[in-house]
């Protein structure tokens, strides 16, 4: 049995991380990876650090504390630009997982099918990492580097995600496809945030998950949406060529070809949904 540290302060946690620890927060990825065997590694439990929890508004936007749970996010008073993330939050596992699982845990676990990631990409979220020597921020797209790998260095802790304020009226939405209604790993999912001015798309961000090792933004589609009228036809702007950043695979949940096809369908529906 290894050590178990449960600091109350961030400094204490960062001090501890000068040697290797497995970080534990909501436990929803930690324990499933340890079924039927003893836990032997040293564990740093960050769930008791008040500074890491909760959502606050800043001059630049919003700070989502690392250990904010999905349920806390859903219940937070946030503008419509967060609707997509809230919709995604309601699709993470079952309600038990939403009550325990944390936003930072979702990105650090770095599953290709992490339900939170497409919506956070659409929000242009930045990841704040801290270590004893200071802190740094990097875009979420740079933070997740591959299947279950991130840019987090030994000694670093994700302390928050930062979501910038949008320049215009912003709407967002999320769609997930799975083979059953609840508690299901996504076959494909998509999220978007559209900034609207005078009934037209001023800017858009669109991301697709579970169709590549890391969820991907679709820059060509985002460009193609600019200037479009925001109505039920918005989805018609989606073209197969926009999916170029995706690299879906065959697995038990679906074939690669199927994923490409349904990503297109989800995107069309998503954009129609966000526009109406």
């Amino acid at each position: 049995m290894g050590d178990y540290l449960r600091p109350r302060g961030l400094e204490e946690a960062l001090q501890a991380l000068t040697r290797p620890f497995t970080v534990l927060a909501g436990g929803t990825d930690f324990y499933p990876a340890r079924v039927g065997r003893a836990v032997v590694e040293d564990v740093l439990d960050i769930a008791g650090i008040p500074a890491l929890r909760g959502i606050s508004e800043t001059s630049a936007g919003w700070r989502l504390g690392a250990t904010t749970t999905w349920s806390e996010l859903v219940e937070a008073d946030l503008p419509p630009m967060f609707d997509g993330l809230k919709q995604a939050a309601r699709e993470v596992g079952g309600r038990q997982i939403q009550n325990a699982g944390t936003i930072a845990g979702n990105i650090c676990n770095a599953s290709p099918a992490a339900d939170g990631v497409p919506a956070l990409l659409a929000l242009d979220a930045e990841v704040e990492l801290a270590c004893c020597d200071g802190s740094r921020r990097l875009p979420l797209a740079s933070f997740i580097t591959g299947v279950r790998t991130t840019a987090r260095q030994p000694g670093e802790l994700v302390v928050a995600l930062h979501v910038p304020r949008s320049r215009a009226e912003a709407r967002s939405a999320f769609l997930k496809l799975g083979a059953r209604r609840y508690l299901v790993i996504s076959i494909a999912m998509a999220s978007t945030l559209v900034e609207v001015e005078d009934g037209k798309v001023k800017a858009a961000r669109v991301a697709v998950g579970a169709c590549s090792p890391v969820a991907q933004r679709l820059p060509a589609l985002e460009q193609a949406l600019v200037g479009a009228t925001v109505d039920a036809h918005l989805g018609e702007r989606v073209a197969p060529s926009h999916l170029a950043p995706l690299s879906p695979i065959d697995d038990v949940r679906g074939s690669a070809g199927y994923r490409s096809e349904v990503a297109l369908v989800l995107l069309r529906r998503l954009l129609s949904k966000v526009a109406t």
Binding site: M1, G2, Y4, R6, L24, G26, G27, T28, F30, Y31, P32, V35, G36, R37, A38, V39, V40, V43, D45, A47, G48, S71, R90, G93, G94, R95, Q96, I97, N99, A100, L177, A179, R180, R181, Y182, L183, V184, I185, I187, V252, R253, G254, S255, G257, Y258, R259, E261, V262, V265
Partner: protein, 902 residues
């Protein structure tokens, strides 16, 4: 670490390793075992508790996070000593608990909701219960129980003689909704040693064990094949082909190789790679084609061609009759390995009591376990006592031995209690599965739509060991023509060994696979002749007086036509609604389908007797001694109902002793939908026997009315009342035995394989998203001829649960060794996937059965997948030849169909 928190309103303290899971601390250290563990991975929700008022999976919470917080478990729901909360009462009254293993988690998930909103909507209930899996109920009665929490349904308490047919609550229900029922892992002695099994990571390999002495010095024992007195078991007396521990070679991934026995923490701390095993993997045989290929290696050396069994039914001249048919349909249909996914993993403990071994474990079949353990241990059957725990779901998967042999071997030699609880991945890897099937069917009819000929060949992958493979291969040819009168029939079944998991018994014994084929053929023939699909089936339905393909004339109780007639108004309404919906266009298209089935109750052409006893003690205690195991289906309750009416005393006066092989007689196994029909008849006879004894003592006539007060039994015969003082008259014991009359099948499959058959027809309405390939089942209407519903609530529960499993078979369930060995990759339906299921009970009495009853367990599942697949065809034009119909498979089929049309 030592910490304080609030548990169910009281201060609690706990000491231990902070990384301990809350679920384990509750169960192992704090003695509250109402919280169940189904997966330890947050996939099933059985361990759901409230943490500061919110539902969480207690298997995912570190005790280090509990200091100062508030934990509520099922034990905390009670409003006073033995006083159920409204939610618990509502679950009990609605029949929302079947096996009861998910019930505590369901209750806690629901509690979070009803505390916020006592009148929740259906969709709110689904959202809150979405994270708790139930494999028994199909969720309908659970959702109703939560929605009706403030509007209790009145309890049913029938008078003496009125129990059969009434909706009494389960006799074991209060224990289940109060979290007090004890399952396989719930009452393990604190001083027990634990077993951890090292299993094969290869589907086919030879292996050598290295030096085990270092491990033996650390542990109480390290068991290998050499420690098993007789290292072979299996369902059939002449096929003991499965080793308890593999000897030098493994035949499937997950096969047990070495058992570590020691203190729990010690065996858990040993890594698999610390056990010295040198593997020499060989290419595995995967699927029937590989097993039957020329020069295929043999899975079992004494099974040439990898063939387990073949056989069939032949009547008339099918080949010639096809020539005269106006329409002929044919097709081949394939199914996958399907996992039972009971929420309770295999678990139990054993100890040696003198020269006897006593095993407390979850099972469906205590007497078969007893005899198998005796054979493995080289003991007399009387030296083995099986004490079944509550069974958290079985569905056929707990008919085979699991934890029992290793428990017996270890406890016999170590002289201490020994426990074994499978993990979820272990349960899935080690246990039996539904047989993958390839069913090739050809059916022909005349111009009026009268079926004239059928030819069906079913090939089954029976996996590495025989298990119940012969049962499947025997049963399917009898059923493969469907519940229809067909004069010319040839059906054939063959089962082959492969390096897949052992395929065994799973609700329906191969008949659900065959039904997918024969029902697709019915649809094709009906469509071809432009006859309504329901009317086509009605025209051909087996009816009383008809002769089956095995030459058996059905004298009574063949209610398929009545089932179809009951569905007819629903069928017509749905057609109109669907046409209107589809006329609006769009990516979503609706369809309706229908599935029919018949199912022989009990063993195929083999004796399967049940014996039951009803005792009346000198103190006036009335006890039903029932060896029939209730695995959630409700046999405990209906046996009491049947016995109560047979004696003529009310249900409330009965005590129930069940399962223990020392205390009850052999009532056979809980399988083949046989308990109501076979054991129920034995219970009826036992009750009648006791009544006869009482009437003789009182010298009273057959219509006398009994009443029991303390040790005084009053017998009112007309105006005269005689009393019997039981203290002086001595104990009374009524006994009843029933073995359904069958005959062996000859080489052409002719004979009487079953004494009676259940019949059913179900319709399914679905909505297909043609762009995504997803199928949402909107509604199921299920009409079942059950002979007589002893307890309609329980019958509905069986139907709804069977439908949910049929839906899973059709749309999502596929076990792939090494790939879907957990409950997030292997998908079973959640509360959001199972639609409203309306049950129509047809009661075409079977004279042989108790009060006319037959069986319902397996029949409930069989028609569902065919109905759903027929509805998909109706919606899209796609004829499905492979299940599960995963979204990508349906989408690919839709694309192919569109391509062919253009």
């Amino acid at each position: 670490m030592k910490l304080e928190f609030t548990l169910n309103g009281r201060a609690a303290s706990w000491q231990g390793e902070p990384v301990t899971r809350l679920a384990s601390a509750l169960r192992d250290d704090l003695g509250v075992t109402g919280t169940k563990i189904g997966c330890d991975a947050g996939d099933c929700g059985a361990c759901t508790v409230l943490l500061d008022g919110r539902q969480v999976c207690s298997c995912l919470v570190a005790m280090g996070q509990i200091e100062g917080r508030t934990v509520e478990t099922v034990e905390g729901l009670e409003t006073g000593p033995d006083a159920m909360a409204a939610l618990q009462q509502s679950f009990l009254d609605h029949g929302a608990a079947q096996c009861g293993i998910c019930t505590p988690g369901m209750l806690m998930a629901a509690q979070e909701l009803v505390r916020r909103n006592s009148k929740p909507s259906r969709s709110e209930v689904e959202d809150f219960l979405g994270g708790v899996l139930c494999r028994c109920t199909g969720y309908g009665k659970i959702v109703d129980a939560v929605m009706d929490v403030v509007a209790p349904v009145p309890a049913t308490a029938p008078a003496a003689g009125g129990a059969v047919g009434s909706r009494i609550v389960r006799v074991d229900g209060p224990a289940k909704v109060m979290g007090r029922d004890l399952f396989g892992a719930d009452a393990i002695p604190r001083d027990a040693l634990w077993i951890r099994v090292i299993r094969s990571p290869h589907a086919r390999a030879r292996f050598e064990l290295g030096d085990l002495e270092p491990l033996r010095r650390r542990l109480a024992a390290v068991l290998t094949a050499a420690d098993v007195p007789f290292n072979g078991y299996g369902i059939y007396p002449d096929i003991k082909d499965q080793p308890v521990l593999a000897a030098g070679q493994v035949r499937y991934r997950g096969e047990a190789v070495v058992a570590l026995v020691g203190e729990r923490a010690e065996v858990l701390a040993i890594r698999d790679d610390e056990v010295p095993i040198t593997w020499k993997p060989e290419p595995p045989l995967s699927g029937v084609d590989a097993a039957t290929a020329k020069d295929a290696p043999l899975v079992q050396a004494d099974r040439p061609g990898n063939l387990l069994l073949k056989g069939g039914v032949k009547r008339g001249d099918a080949a010639a009759a096809f020539d005269a048919c106006a329409a002929v349909a044919e097709g081949t249909f394939e199914t996958a390995f399907v996992e039972h996914a009971y929420i309770e993993p295999e678990a139990g403990w054993a100890w040696r009591v003198g020269d006897r071994i006593e095993i407390h474990a979850t099972t469906q079949t205590p007497y078969m376990d007893r005899d198998e353990i005796a054979n493995l241990m080289r003991l007399k059957p009387e030296a083995v006592r099986i004490v079944p725990t509550a069974c958290g779901g079985g569905f056929g998967g707990k008919l085979d031995l699991s934890v029992q042999p290793l428990l017996a071997i270890a406890a016999w030699t170590l002289g201490r209690p020994v426990a074994l609880v499978y993990t979820r991945p272990e349960s899935m890897a080690a246990s039996t599965k539904r047989h993958p099937a390839r069913v090739s069917a050809r059916f022909g009819c005349d111009a009026e739509g009268k079926l004239m000929a059928c030819d069906v060949t079913a090939l089954f992958d029976t996996g590495a060991y025989a298990s119940w493979g012969p049962t499947v291969a025997n049963r399917v040819p009898v059923h493969a023509m469907g519940p229809y009168a067909i004069p010319n029939v040839r059906t054939w079944g063959e089962a082959f060994f492969t390096n897949g998991p052992p395929a065994g018994a799973f609700r329906g014994f191969g008949v659900p696979q065959a039904a997918i084929a024969h029902e697709a053929m019915m649809d094709e023939l009906a469509d071809r002749l432009a006859i309504d699909r329901l009317e086509f089936r009605h025209r051909n339905a087996l009816r009383a007086g008809d002769t089956t393909a095995t030459g058996q004339t059905l004298a009574h109780s063949a209610g398929l036509a009545q089932c179809l007639e009951a569905l007819r108004p629903h069928w017509r309404r749905a057609h109109e609604e669907i046409a209107a919906f589809n006329a609006t266009g769009g990516a979503r298209r609706r369809g309706i389908g229908i599935g029919c089935m018949w199912y022989g109750i009990g063993n195929t052409s083999m004796s399967n007797p049940s014996r039951m006893r009803v005792g009346l003690s000198p103190a006036g205690t009335l006890t039903l001694y029932s060896g029939a195991l209730d695995i959630g289906q409700g046999s405990n309750t209906i046996m009491v109902q049947i016995a109560a009416d047979a004696v003529g005393l009310p249900v409330e006066q009965f005590k129930l002793v069940t399962g223990d092989t020392d205390l009850t007689a052999d009532a056979g196994k809980t399988s083949a939908s046989r308990q109501t029909f076979v054991s129920g008849k034995a219970a009826e006879k036992a009750g009648q026997d006791l009544r006869q004894q009482i009437l003789r003592l009182a010298n009273a006539g057959p219509d006398a009315v009994l009443s029991l007060e303390g040790a005084t039994l009053s017998v009112r015969d007309g105006a005269e009342v005689r009393t019997i003082d039981l203290a002086t008259s001595g104990p009374l014991m009524g006994e009843g035995t029933f073995d359904p009359p069958t005959t062996p099948l000859d080489a052409d499959g002719q004979g009487v394989p079953y004494a009676t058959y259940a019949f059913a027809a179900q319709l399914a309405e679905v909505e297909v998203d043609v762009e995504l390939g997803t199928v949402k089942v909107l509604r199921i209407v299920a009409a079942h001829d059950v002979g007589r519903a002893i307890n309609p609530t329980l019958v509905e529960g069986q139907i709804q649960g069977g439908v949910a499993q049929g839906l899973g078979l059709a749309l999502m369930e596929e076990y792939l060794p090494g790939r879907t060995e957990n409950l997030h990759d292997y998908l079973i339906p959640t509360v959001g996937d199972v639609p409203e299921i309306e049950c129509l009970l047809i009661e075409d009495r079977e004279p042989l059965g108790p009060s006319g009853a037959k069986g319902i367990g397996e029949p409930a599942l069989v028609p569902t997948a065919p109905a759903i697949l027929g509805a998909v065809h109706h919606a899209t034009g796609v004829r499905v030849h492979r299940v599960p119909l995963l979204p990508h498979r349906l989408r690919e089929a839709i694309v192919a169909l569109e391509r062919n049309r253009t």
